[in-house]
């Protein structure tokens, strides 16, 4: 007469499994701004790399004050944003964190006209505060005693790190090749790693938990942020206007304050 416990167990266990699965995916890029009311009409839809999110906020505000058009900002990993666009997500303006992603968007005919570089970024060595591994230069990272964390070569920051190491003739044997620059920073912040290569802007955002060591050769390998109006844009003129704002004096000074390099230097 006894029923097996299994039949009673499964619904509860499956429910719990479902709950635990919810938080697996990092940054899915949710819209950041409120949806506009009927009077102001359609918002300008901007898809921008996660590293630009904080610096975008004041610029979005300036744009809305100037044009009266609200901006709906979706920020996320560049590859995530690209795959959303490939799957038909609507958007007016695309600002990924590197040029290869923009090239892929162009190959997929997602882009209306040639992109403009709006900012650049360089790699720095990030070490936990106090520098427990006593790292001084890029060459120090070759010492296998140090726990070194890089981005995987498939991720933009990892590709730049590889080029940089090659140019400086340093062989790097990382203990971990992370999937995103934020994961590298996380390992350095928690002092799990003695050093990691991250963008200067990320190191700046990490505050006092992280010390930054400049790399001389890094200036030769800037990572460029291109911006382009999307082929499916419903408001292409406004999107172009937003790019102009990014390139304007106020746009460039906001980017500079966040640790980005200027657009003009990067395009040279």
């Amino acid at each position: 007469m006894r029923r097996s416990a299994r039949t009673r167990l499964l619904p509860g266990a499956l429910l719990l499994a479902l709950l635990s699965g919810c938080a697996n995916a990092p940054d899915s890029g949710a819209p950041d701004a409120d949806t506009p009311d009927a009077e102001t009409g359609q918002p300008l839809r901007v898809l921008a790399a996660a590293s630009l999110q904080e610096v975008m906020d004041p610029l979005v505000q300036e744009f809305t004050e100037r044009t009266g058009v609200p901006v709906q900002l979706s920020s996320g990993g560049s590859a995530d944003l690209l795959s959303q666009l490939t799957q038909g997500a609507p958007g007016d303006l695309f600002v990924p964190a590197d040029e290869p992603t923009m090239e892929r968007a162009q190959d997929a005919s997602l882009i209306r006209q040639d992109p403009s570089v709006i900012a650049s970024n360089t790699l720095v060595i990030a070490v936990p505060s106090g520098n427990p591994g006593r790292i001084g230069t890029l060459a120090d990272l070759a010492d296998p005693q140090h726990a070194l964390v890089l981005c995987a070569p498939q991720v933009p920051c990892g590709a730049v790190a590889q080029q940089l190491a090659q140019a400086a003739d340093v062989t790097l044997a990382p203990d971990s090749e992370e999937l995103a620059v934020t994961d590298v920073l996380g390992k350095v912040r928690s002092a799990e790693a003695d050093a990691g290569l991250v963008y200067s802007t990320d190191a700046l955002r990490a505050g006092e938990e992280v010390e930054t060591i400049r790399i001389e050769e890094a200036a030769e390998f800037p990572n460029r942020y291109p911006a382009a109006v999307l082929a499916g844009a419903e408001q292409p003129e406004l999107a172009a206007e937003f790019i102009e704002l990014l390139l304007s004096e106020s746009g460039q000074s906001a980017l500079e304050q966040a640790g980005f390099g200027p657009a003009s230097e990067a395009s040279g």
Partner: protein, 267 residues
């Protein structure tokens, strides 16, 4: 005696509609994934060194984590099911926390425990144990998120064991260990089996705690879900192929571990 709890005749018709919706909701995305596969490319995509080493690492770590969950989880479930001490309810709730916590938080918690700056980090370093960036860290992350599944599965099974059966065995002179071995364990076997399946499946799919705690290096810490996430950056087709591989492994494991004759378990 074979009294099925829900006979086909007793089922109201309207239940079929939400039931069908539920089945479609689960199966449709998996079908959509399958339509993305390019068969001609599949052998190349699945036989890359990175893919094979990720698969092998995932299998090794998931099996180890499942064993740990069994060795640690079954005794815990036994204790909890007998627990009468004050606070046992709170203890049960806390132990099930990893089920509802986002896995990333589990990873951060593990980092603060076993990491170099963690609670146990210094003691471990004195013993010469380095967990950071090692395969052991992957197994710890998987065990952390999977253990509650085993505890729930076995504890529910234990609640189904009738007191009369146990009392009869004690009257017949069975000691506690003998009672456990020859009466309790055989009776909870179906529950234990679903615990094993759930723990293995959860370990195989583990992503968040692993990336936050163990890192990602081919052959050492980069399991199949991490490899899939990475491939998505540059080669979405390879990511789809690997996803299908992961689904296949999960289906095979569930098929093999499921109790042979499921209807028997309902008698």
């Amino acid at each position: 005696m074979s009294r099925r709890p829900t006979g086909g005749a007793a089922l109201p018709r309207w239940v079929l509609f939400p039931a069908a919706a539920a089945a479609v909701f689960i199966l449709l995305p998996i079908f959509a994934l399958l339509t993305r596969i390019e068969l001609a490319e599949l052998p190349r995509l699945l036989s890359s060194e990175a893919a094979l080493s990720a698969l092998w690492l995932s299998l090794r770590t998931s099996v180890t984590a499942t064993l740990l969950c069994t060795v640690l989880g079954v005794p815990l479930a036994l204790v909890l099911s007998h627990a009468t001490f004050r606070g046992s309810g709170i203890l049960r709730t806390l132990i099930l926390l990893p089920l509802v916590l986002p896995p990333v938080i589990g990873g951060i918690a593990l980092l603060n425990t076993f990491g170099r700056q963690g609670l146990l980090g210094e003691s471990l370093e004195l013993l010469g144990v380095q967990i950071a960036f090692s395969t052991a860290a992957v197994v710890l992350a998987q065990t952390f998120v999977s253990l509650p599944f085993m505890v729930i599965a076995v504890e529910s099974a234990l609640r189904g064991v009738q007191k009369e059966v146990m009392e009869a065995a004690v009257v017949d002179g069975a000691g506690p260990t003998q009672l456990l071995r020859s009466i309790v364990l055989p009776l909870i076997l179906p529950g234990l089996a679903s615990g094993v399946v759930l723990a293995f499946a959860r370990s195989l799919g583990e992503f968040g705690a692993t990336i936050a705690f163990a890192g990602s290096l081919q052959g050492v810490t980069r399991t199949l879900p991490l490899e899939i996430y990475l491939q998505r950056e540059t080669d979405p087709d390879a990511a789809v192929a690997l996803s299908v591989l992961l689904i296949l492994v999960a289906v095979v494991v569930i098929g093999l571990t499921r109790p042979r004759s499921a209807p028997d378990a309902l008698r």
